[in-house]
């Protein structure tokens, strides 16, 4: 029954995914309640995670005071001054002994723009370290690299979500929004949906056409679709000639991927390849969208580029009602990658190696550009280097749980354990927090103000319903407290989100992701502002840019670039010892490492523990039945999960969700091969065997 809210309520957004559904939070008769609002991306809808999000505010094991590990290795309560003094003193000592790059920061794609911005500033100024990266490297980095190369600019969707609703055809490559962002599905209902996924997901079940490739072969499929677009006459030659460059080089690769060859490599029938291209080709309005399934590979950038090539050949990007986009995953996956928590970037989506960018940001920060560090290690490389010779000896983690979410997780846990100092700021005792030397309890979602940037590049206000519990501080307050103890001027690290945002506006001014024309006041007035939105001191306020590229792409010549890409095998293919492919992904009830959603009773009841989806024949050959405990083993380790028989699985593939901790961690088996450009790990395919196991305790 609807639980009407008698007290004050605030319009805000769901704490989880990049769709950032609009909600109204209030105090109901049975506690805090969330109701969907008519915000354009969800239009009155919400998935189970969104409905139950208020439960996060009252999780029983909420962290309410700092914890400091004592000489006996026990994490014991401490007051804030003790905790911050401990951290600062140890950071200073390590820096004195090993230099500033011995201090590292690992951020998250769920942090607000303000936190992401201040975290990057904190690393470069207060720590003086270039060693900062974030878990968004594991999410959108491949599509970001491909999008930047193709269009000169990376914004997940360069158009509003609602534009999708008018499309005639949409190709979704490696995305399962029916489970990962359900309210998006209503925008896809009007189109003929083509889903590319090795699994028959709920999204695939609703598609007009489901292409089911062998894991790790999406790139060959994308090349083949481009081939067909040309041979079957769907290539928009006039568009290619007028708005792009580089077609010939891309084609010389795609020409070798005729459909029958693609069929042999991908397992996708020729007829279905042709049907997919014809559906897109015939559509008056069409979109090509990619997700993590295509991107989380050691060739993820090239795969995203190959789908962009297809979109360009069909004449879609930069055309009203059509386009290419990446479905960003994490809540602030978009804003989180724009404001300087990425190893190679400064605020405003500026490159840290660009002298003009360094000068601009150093000017805003009131420092000498020469003192700013250069690019640091990418996420996995950073985690892999922890505690090694020349690697970081202290790590500060904000908004991330790499003990569960990083690839080759057992190895990452070893690296974390080898640190001289691990500090985790979180609001629950995540698996990473439990191993920390100091745990700092921070505010969450509805307890603080801020902005998020959703998957369509729209900047949103996250609003506070009530104050954080006693003993809890905000991330901004934590950064401030540490910075001051490290000798920084107090006003360099404001604790007010509004003041941080004002500074972020100045820092982003003139950058690719220009927020300088956006203010809390404009957002609070209900304006829909998509970046870039430059400041206009002398004129009318800039209306923001809901649709990019309609006139020109962001390269100096205004043209989009085809990429010359070719297919290659994944880093690991099945062999006699590991005869199956394993792929990883999400289930509806959980989010990322599950640190939040596993604590919500309704969600945990819906998806209580790790499972492995497997074809009945493959299970029978392995001596496994429905509900049995199975051990799934790769060259790196084993994970334990309950068998779930799924007749639509490929017989050569098993699927494990990655939300669970301990021995059920999917990332115990995933590999560490990195994409050469985006540094994305190969989460989506590895070689495994499966056998009966014993239940984990």
């Amino acid at each position: 029954m609807p639980d009407t809210a008698p007290g004050p309520s605030v319009p805000t957004h769901c704490p989880y995914c990049a769709l950032q559904c609009g909600t109204r939070l209030g105090h109901g008769t049975r506690g805090t309640v969330a109701e969907p609002s008519d915000f354009p991306v969800n239009d009155g809808r919400l998935c189970q995670k969104g409905w139950t999000a208020p439960a996060l505010l009252d999780v029983p094991d909420r962290l309410r005071h700092p914890l400091v590990r004592d000489a006996d290795g026990r994490l014991l309560p401490a007051d804030w001054d003790t905790a911050l003094d401990t951290v600062a003193a140890r950071l200073l000592r390590i820096r004195d002994e090993h230099g500033p790059d011995a201090l590292a920061v690992f951020g998250g794609g769920g942090l607000t723009n303000e936190k992401a911005y201040l975290l990057g500033k904190f690393a470069r100024l207060a720590l003086g370290s270039g060693q900062i990266d974030y878990n968004g490297r594991f999410c959108m980095s491949s599509a970001a690299a491909a999008g930047t190369a193709a269009f000169g600019l990376d914004r997940g969707l360069p158009f509003p979500v609602r534009d999708l609703g008018a499309a005639d055809a949409i190709l979704l490559a490696g995305a399962n929004p029916a489970e990962t962002m359900p309210p998006l599905m209503r925008h896809l209902e009007g189109a003929d949906l083509i889903v590319v996924d090795p699994r028959r997901t709920r999204t695939a079940e609703r598609a007009a056409l489901h292409l089911q490739p062998v894991p790790g072969t999406d790139l060959a499929l994308a090349l083949g679709l481009l081939h067909i677009a040309v041979t079957d006459g769907w290539c928009d030659k006039e568009y290619v000639q007028r708005r792009t460059t580089g077609f010939d080089a891309a084609w010389r690769r795609a020409v070798a991927w005729w459909p029958e060859r693609v069929e042999r490599v991908t397992g996708v029938p020729v007829a279905e390849q042709r049907a997919a291209v014809e559906t897109l080709g015939r559509a008056r309005r069409a979109y090509v969208l990619t997700g993590r399934g295509a991107e989380q590979h050691s060739k993820g950038t090239d795969t995203a580029a190959a789908f962009i090539n297809l979109a360009l050949a069909l004449g879609l990007p930069g055309v009203m009602g059509s386009g290419y986009g990446c479905l960003t995953g994490q809540g602030n996956g978009q804003g989180g990658r724009e404001h300087g928590q990425k190893a190679d970037q400064l605020p405003g989506y500026r490159m840290i190696t660009d002298p003009a960018a360094r000068a601009h940001v150093a000017g805003v920060w009131g420092t000498d550009p020469d003192t700013l560090p250069g690019p640091g290690r990418s996420a996995y490389e950073l985690l892999d280097a922890l505690g090694t010779d020349g690697g970081p000896r202290a790590l500060l983690v904000f908004g991330s749980n790499p003990a569960v979410s990083a690839p080759h997780a057992a190895h990452v846990c070893d690296r974390l354990a080898s640190l001289d100092l691990l500090v985790v700021a979180d609001f629950v005792p995540s698996e990473t927090a439990r191993t920390a030397d100091v745990v700092l309890p921070v505010a969450q979602w509805a307890e603080e103000e801020g902005t998020m940037t959703n998957l369509e590049g729209r900047v949103l206000r996250r609003r506070r319903l009530h104050a954080p519990p006693d003993g809890v501080r905000t991330d901004l307050e934590v950064l401030h407290g540490l910075a001051v103890r490290l000798g920084q001027p107090a006003d360099r690290f404001p604790t007010s989100p509004r003041r941080v945002f004002e500074e972020l506006r100045r820092a982003s001014r003139g950058g690719k992701a220009d927020y300088s024309g956006i203010s809390y006041a404009r957002l609070d007035a209900g304006e829909a502002l998509h970046w870039p939105c430059p400041d206009t001191p002398d004129g009318d306020p800039h209306p923001g840019t809901p649709r990019l590229f309609l006139d020109r792409f962001a390269h100096p010549d205004g043209r989009a670039r085809f990429a010359e890409v070719d297919h290659r095998d994944p880093a690991e293919t099945p062999d006699a010892d590991h005869p199956l492919y394993a792929t990883t992904g999400r289930v509806l009830a959980h989010y990322q490492s599950g640190a939040q959603t596993r604590r919500v009773a309704e969600l945990n009841d819906a998806a209580p523990g790790p499972f492995v989806e497997i074809h009945p024949d493959t299970a029978e050959r392995a001596g496994l039945r429905e509900g049995d405990t199975a051990r799934v083993t790769s060259a790196r380790g084993s994970t334990v999960a309950r068998v779930r028989l799924v007749g639509s699985m490929r017989t050569d593939t098993v699927f494990v969700p990655f939300h669970y901790p301990g021995p059920g961690r999917a990332n115990l088996i995933t590999g560490t091969a990195l994409d050469p450009r985006s540094r994305m790990p190969e989460f989506k395919v590895c070689a495994v065997r499966i056998e009966p196991g014993t239940a984990a305790t």
Partner: protein, 462 residues
Amino acid sequence: MPASSHVLVVGHGPAGHRLVERLRHHGHRGPVTVLGAEPRPAYNRVLLTSLLGGTLTAGDLELTGPPDGVRVRTGVTVTGIDRARRLVSTDTGETHSYDRLVLATGARPRIPHLPGVFTGGVLTEGATALRTLADCERFADGPVVVLGGGVLGTEATLALLRDGRDVTLVHPGPHLMDDRLDDVAGSLLAGHLRSRGAQLRLGRAAVEYRPGKLALDDGEILRAATLALCTGAEPETALARRAGLSVRTGVVVDRQLRTSDPRVHAIGDCAEFDADAPGLVTTAWEQAETLARILAGRPAHHRPGRPVVRLKAPGIDLACLGPPDPPGATRHVALSDPARGRHARLALSGEHILGAVLIGLPRATAAVGRLYERGLPVPSDLLGLLLGTTSTVGPARVELPDEAVLCHCNHVTKGDLLRARSAGAHDLADIAAATRATTGCGGCADDVRRVLASATGGNGDP
């Protein structure tokens, strides 16, 4: 093998082109020279029939240029190899030295003994093979007779028909591709060609060619502005023979792709390994990749793939996997539905496919082909495999249990809906307010309506 040796490649077709590209990729840093007999840069020979069909132009087939530091000479035919001095000589009077020589000379079309097909030692006007871009340029306006109903003849016929040409296909065998297909598949293929407008002359032999006309053994005279000779190919071995290398059908190579002279390798259509010269581009590419690794100093050896023939033509799915009657087959499974153009025949040993013929079954063609190539076991539901339907777990459910989840977005079970209905929920809005069902993606709305509408609440729905 030092990664800096001078590699000389004879032939710039698919094998030679792929080899030099991969040499650099694998770290070979020495000089590389390629001598190509055709007067143009490397192109994608596999897609020549697309030119006939008008879907691609000659420019579309051009392959990527050679990597930096690779010297390519086109229009140069190698005339001799001096293995003692490690030199090759060319028809242009050049000599080239080598540390390693790679023969990638490809195959030559087999021209039938047909009176009138040669004039003065060259093909008579209007007659052409179909192996090079130049061959495609010899197609004249007017009716085409394709001689030979193998894979190439069939693909060429279908391509020409797509371009609106008048085509007659003459094949002496009892049905098309009779070396690979059984008679049911052969007649289905013939039916497909006829439906596209082809004239077929099966079981008939050509007896004489004159420009513009082809005479058959039953006296029929076919008009032929072009006579396309798709009568097979054989490894191009003349150079190897003259150089004294071991040659049977092709130039004999070992697992290291070495000929009888360890400094001379052979790859692609000209090479014969284990008494087999399959003439498939996939074999040529695999050999090019393997040899590139070897010449770059990496461990590698040739692993012949399983032979797969997949017809390249839009609108028809035809695959022949393995030999027509594979030895060792312990069971055969066939699905034959000629009236709907579908036919499949699998030869199995236990759970493994030894050979197969499939026509008109696009999903099965993809799935069976992969299982065969990878040596993977077949699923228990062979009928599902051949029909391309997804198998299900257990018996089909006619009645959903109360614990079945209908709204996945909000994890609402059928039981939850029934309880909400009992408590007074009558329509979707009531249900949404009570259970949140339909408030996520909205995909369960029909299921929820069915539960609401069901009289008994327990049986027969949804």
